[in-house]
Subunit: 443 residues, 4 copies
Amino acid sequence: MTKKSLKIAVIGGGSSYTPELIEGLIRYYDVFPVSELYLVDIPEGAEKLNIIGALAQRMVEESGVPMRIVPTFDRRAAIRGADFVTTQIRVGMLDARSRDERIPLAHHLIGQETTGAGGFAKALRTIPVILDICREMEELAPHAFLINFTNPAGLVTEAVLKYSPIRTVGLCNLPIDTKMQIAELYNRKPEELFIEMAGINHLNWTTKVVIDGIDVTKDFLGRLSDGKSFSMTNIPDLAWDQSFIRSLGALPCAYHRYYYMKNEMLEELLNKLEKQGTTRADDVKAVEAELFELYKQPELKHKPKQLEQRGGAYYSEAAVRLMRSIYNDTGDVQTVNVRNNGIISCLPDDASIEVNCVIKSDGPHPLSLSRPLPTQIRGLLQVVKAYEELTVEAAVHGDYGKALQALTIHPLVGDEQAARAVLDELLQANAAYLPQFQPTCPQ
Amino acid sequence: MTKKSLKIAVIGGGSSYTPELIEGLIRYYDVFPVSELYLVDIPEGAEKLNIIGALAQRMVEESGVPMRIVPTFDRRAAIRGADFVTTQIRVGMLDARSRDERIPLAHHLIGQETTGAGGFAKALRTIPVILDICREMEELAPHAFLINFTNPAGLVTEAVLKYSPIRTVGLCNLPIDTKMQIAELYNRKPEELFIEMAGINHLNWTTKVVIDGIDVTKDFLGRLSDGKSFSMTNIPDLAWDQSFIRSLGALPCAYHRYYYMKNEMLEELLNKLEKQGTTRADDVKAVEAELFELYKQPELKHKPKQLEQRGGAYYSEAAVRLMRSIYNDTGDVQTVNVRNNGIISCLPDDASIEVNCVIKSDGPHPLSLSRPLPTQIRGLLQVVKAYEELTVEAAVHGDYGKALQALTIHPLVGDEQAARAVLDELLQANAAYLPQFQPTCPQ
Amino acid sequence: MTKKSLKIAVIGGGSSYTPELIEGLIRYYDVFPVSELYLVDIPEGAEKLNIIGALAQRMVEESGVPMRIVPTFDRRAAIRGADFVTTQIRVGMLDARSRDERIPLAHHLIGQETTGAGGFAKALRTIPVILDICREMEELAPHAFLINFTNPAGLVTEAVLKYSPIRTVGLCNLPIDTKMQIAELYNRKPEELFIEMAGINHLNWTTKVVIDGIDVTKDFLGRLSDGKSFSMTNIPDLAWDQSFIRSLGALPCAYHRYYYMKNEMLEELLNKLEKQGTTRADDVKAVEAELFELYKQPELKHKPKQLEQRGGAYYSEAAVRLMRSIYNDTGDVQTVNVRNNGIISCLPDDASIEVNCVIKSDGPHPLSLSRPLPTQIRGLLQVVKAYEELTVEAAVHGDYGKALQALTIHPLVGDEQAARAVLDELLQANAAYLPQFQPTCPQ
Amino acid sequence: MTKKSLKIAVIGGGSSYTPELIEGLIRYYDVFPVSELYLVDIPEGAEKLNIIGALAQRMVEESGVPMRIVPTFDRRAAIRGADFVTTQIRVGMLDARSRDERIPLAHHLIGQETTGAGGFAKALRTIPVILDICREMEELAPHAFLINFTNPAGLVTEAVLKYSPIRTVGLCNLPIDTKMQIAELYNRKPEELFIEMAGINHLNWTTKVVIDGIDVTKDFLGRLSDGKSFSMTNIPDLAWDQSFIRSLGALPCAYHRYYYMKNEMLEELLNKLEKQGTTRADDVKAVEAELFELYKQPELKHKPKQLEQRGGAYYSEAAVRLMRSIYNDTGDVQTVNVRNNGIISCLPDDASIEVNCVIKSDGPHPLSLSRPLPTQIRGLLQVVKAYEELTVEAAVHGDYGKALQALTIHPLVGDEQAARAVLDELLQANAAYLPQFQPTCPQ
């Protein structure tokens, strides 16, 4: 881009993560000159938006960069003429997340924000809203990029790729987080490593590590057996078994625990719910409440340290670096969610995948994998991607049958009766957010 | 073939199913002139082999066809110069099956002869023996066809396709059984229907039914909701849900119950074990004991009716028709297990699949599918095939890691710790039959 | 089909080939009871249609079968309620063919009815008319099969597959002719051989010959070097070189001579034109004139022998057998033009290919190839198929650019300037038949 | 790489291009510290090697960089411990090239160094020698990269990828040259453009041009019609037709003239031979003689300007930048020859292709194409790649049949008889360099 000043619309601007983003935009201002930052939210989120808007204003003033902060409920005004639209929305807010976690658990199924039946419900609620945003972008900012952080990011990205002409990139901080941890393991700077990651969002394997031109993957997998665990703040940290990792031939991501350690993870979630009466949503609510208390303090003019515990490490890094690289045609490698196009040969060409991409001014260009995915990875990946394809169809068309089939083949459900039971309850509980399923739901 | 008389070697000739085969060979003698029928078994099966041999002799005499029955322990003599070698072996006999069923159940996993962890153990025991037979065929009957009925038939077929030059066809009576039931549903002769079946052995969907040139699939799926269930003798008969079948867009096979009705099926198996102290192996033992009592009776000169309850309906039909069609270059369509070769585009080319084939003198030629498999079928099929690929590798090379990965991604296990626990116990319990895993098992 | 009597509409009923068809319909009447045979033609062909109609009437009367012959110009009446619509049209009649042959020759390019620039021009004229017929069928006979004999049959079939919902099969007598010749070579009945043919119409290789279950391909290719040539009446018969056939690993079809013997064939065609002042169209005109003289004779009540010299050997056989097999759900193997669907893995799924198919009541089901096509076949096949794809687009959309690209990459043109020159002249000469190219042609 | 000083072995060090390379190595010394540069040649090239060695020595001294120049005939000593091995050999020297050009012309076929029958002969001579070098590398420098400039670079690269474990990259200056010319057209720096190039060496299309994040391909193709021609020094510069380029939808490379303008190019080459009695080899001989006269002059201490007329513009740029990027893990995008791996979905996975790659310390990582290649490109590309696959097999195994099939399907030959005639003459003329074809050639 040749523009000297940029406009960004942040949909879901009242999110507790926003200060991360602000901090990144300030830090990178000289190479990524954002002059207008619209923070959009819905009236129900007015209080949070006000707090965030004021904090953002203070941060910007403190930094001295000429960035105008515009908190607003007017999404169309925010999108009009924007160069980038970022989405970090939570349709139904944390209460919906709480239900996404509790309803599956009541059926003795993993209840999690982005995977399994919980993530499925979130996708049904979120995809129609994102596609609405895309339609507004077609009208008001047709050349802008949609940078999507909203979970489940892989599903949302696939829906946009299939149902909108808008250019989009799906983003998650897990890949950069993994890279940082591997760099630390080797006492190297992250840019000194080449890490091959392949899979889909939240089901992504690190299949190769190269240092100084040498493939050190075997050594790397060996080191993992010293109790290194590479987890995320928000996921119970159970260590991988040595021989499992060796025969897998790759490092699973943190979310893989819900698959490979399904029984233990379910036990943990059930225990927590039983003993503490809470799920992760409750923790997040508590953390958020604290954060917003902090954010309110007029003397706070920087991103507070406590935000990192929230699970968003490197979130700013990932988000701002992606937009900066597009703006500057940087050509560096980032791991993002894009159209497959044959890169992962065992998945459909039009699937969203999460792989290394070179970021150029026209967006990400995925890199070829240096070797095909091994059978053990392929099998799990294919069935979860089939679930995702069905879920996108269900979300877009309000198709009960597709929804039922999606959950039935999902490895964390895997039973038609269980799928139907949890589906019916999820549809009921989310009826207010699922116009596409009315009046046919539940059958 | 132009030969006027044929030699068949039946490996596992002492099986209680053999009278089915004899009956078929007699019935089709005029178009399929078998003059020498070697019934091979191992010394441990001497008693059964004697009983079967004598019964076969009486049946042949009664029929008047000039077929020589040769019961023997000398497998090489049986194979030498054979035109067809059929296998219906049970490595470890029914006691091993009993363990295949009980060990998974002890881990709260489906314990079944051919699917899940039980079928996996059976594959590990069986594949090396079948490949031994193939090596003997290479030497003694290199142009013969190996007609394999031994379960898990899909896995065994894939192992032979990948590790032997011998021409092989994997056979199951489930497809013909399904076709018969659909014909009955429509009051038609089976040959009046064209049924498209696609998938792999014991995971095979009926995706299309054509009558008089008209695609009646939709009507057919609708009829299934009247409580029609299409099960097999040996599988608990739970009815499919209407809307599930409709959104699936296909008729699942009987074994699909272990996947789509995993929870209920597990409950049934556990109940049976708990209340009756038995698994299916025990039932089969009882049925077999009765059958062999029957077979012993010198006045018995025909296949007894009771054999059909054993689960082998149309077994003779399937087996003899296949060989007859090859011999006569018949060109009729049969549903058998063959190399994929791109027919199911979402599976590897070298996978074994179970599809419609035209049977010619050089074996089966698979038919193109009239439409690609829908996403819901694709997802489940791909993950189970990945399990099968890993299992073949584990069975051939004695590779613990591949075995662990195979079970971990299997939809009926789906957890690394559970996979490891049941694997270790299965390897221990089957150590006598798994030389390929010594001395590395269990780790 | 369960109908007891059938209606067929023959579009181009005034063709000199029609008596072949009549003869076949009479011969197969007991298994394929056609009660109404509409012979449709255009007013310009009135004279021929009258002659053919009268001859057909006499043939039917002589045979005693209750088949009503209806010569007509009313295509819609003919199509209404038909069970089969066959097409054997020649848009622009033999004069157009003459131009298709002469214009390329004037540019020193192969001028031939179905291949190269000549076949290209024929495709541009024919495809829009065939698609018109399809639209009428959608309205008047939506379940009928379109059996297309009109050349270039592969291109026409691909256009229908891509641009119409009508069920179609493309048919050529070359495969059956080849099979007959191979059977003769081995002194066998054709049904005793399994011949694997693969490719596209008029570019079809015989890649495998099986007799009595044994692959005799190597022996077969060896025999070809004894001067056997397997040509067609209408194609100059130049013998294949031994070592060429051996390294090719397949028998080329007669039309391959235009590719593999391009220089010699061009020489032949130019010589004929120079010395005799004629092309094949002129010969055909002469033969047709004679034939119609014959047909007129009131005492002629059978297909005359002379028709076979016309190049249509086994035409009746191919045509009637295909319809009979569909009607009777015969399940025999015929080599016809259908949608690829992955059978030839190096061509697009939606390409028309010519391969072995099992003919069932719902049409042809292609058989898997027993081995992938070798590189030398793949290369030529892919470039000609790319030409065909572009030509279909050019014909349907009147796209000059696609037309130019199609001819530029065609192995019988292979030069942009030559392509443009011959294209412009062909478009000019055929302007009356190419409304889709007006007013943009030539550029 | 972490090494502080590097060793390079230049096989064919006596080439007139070498001063280009020296100049580049000097210029980039601070980021790519080559301390040992072995210039290897054969005794027949002793004189040239001496001249080049001395010039290189003077250039290095003048520059002051601490690079040791080692001219040698001892290839093993040069390879031992090298970090990079580059090849710029000419098996049979310019006399062989002269024959490669003249023999096809005598058969009225394009005679060119790298395409058609001429390039084919060069491949047969060159591939065995390169594979010998690879075997020495396996023993003496197994981790080194083989950077191959030797033509036909695509064929050579494919042979190494298929028949050697050595890491290799095939390099040509045409892509960088094209990029430079496009940058000039837009008055931009090359690094400001993103150019998508796809195809194989010397058959490479520029399918997309992006500037400032905007796809300007259409504008770009339009500009080409102003008579811009983008040729290379060594290829007759005929302008592309406007409507051809528009319907092609891409910029062809200079070598495409031999395909798209086959007739005119053949005319040019024949004219030159007839009128001047020379081919390009003769011109090159003359230029080289002049260059070596220049090189001899003791006062010459820089790369002379005249070298650029030789056709090697940006050769140094391409070569040194590639090695520098590997050494420094630069991650910039370069267009080089690598294993396909699904990037060009219509070509085999193991084919060599020429596409954009990110250059990392472990070599090039190809980038996904932003859209599939259009049909018109696909068709030509596939048939030429099939020719290349057959040629690699012919070159490695000395297989006459593959050689015959390769030339028969080549668009610049396209006739079996012509193919055989030119093949036999080429094999005869090159017998001294083709041990793999003895004693079976010619048949």
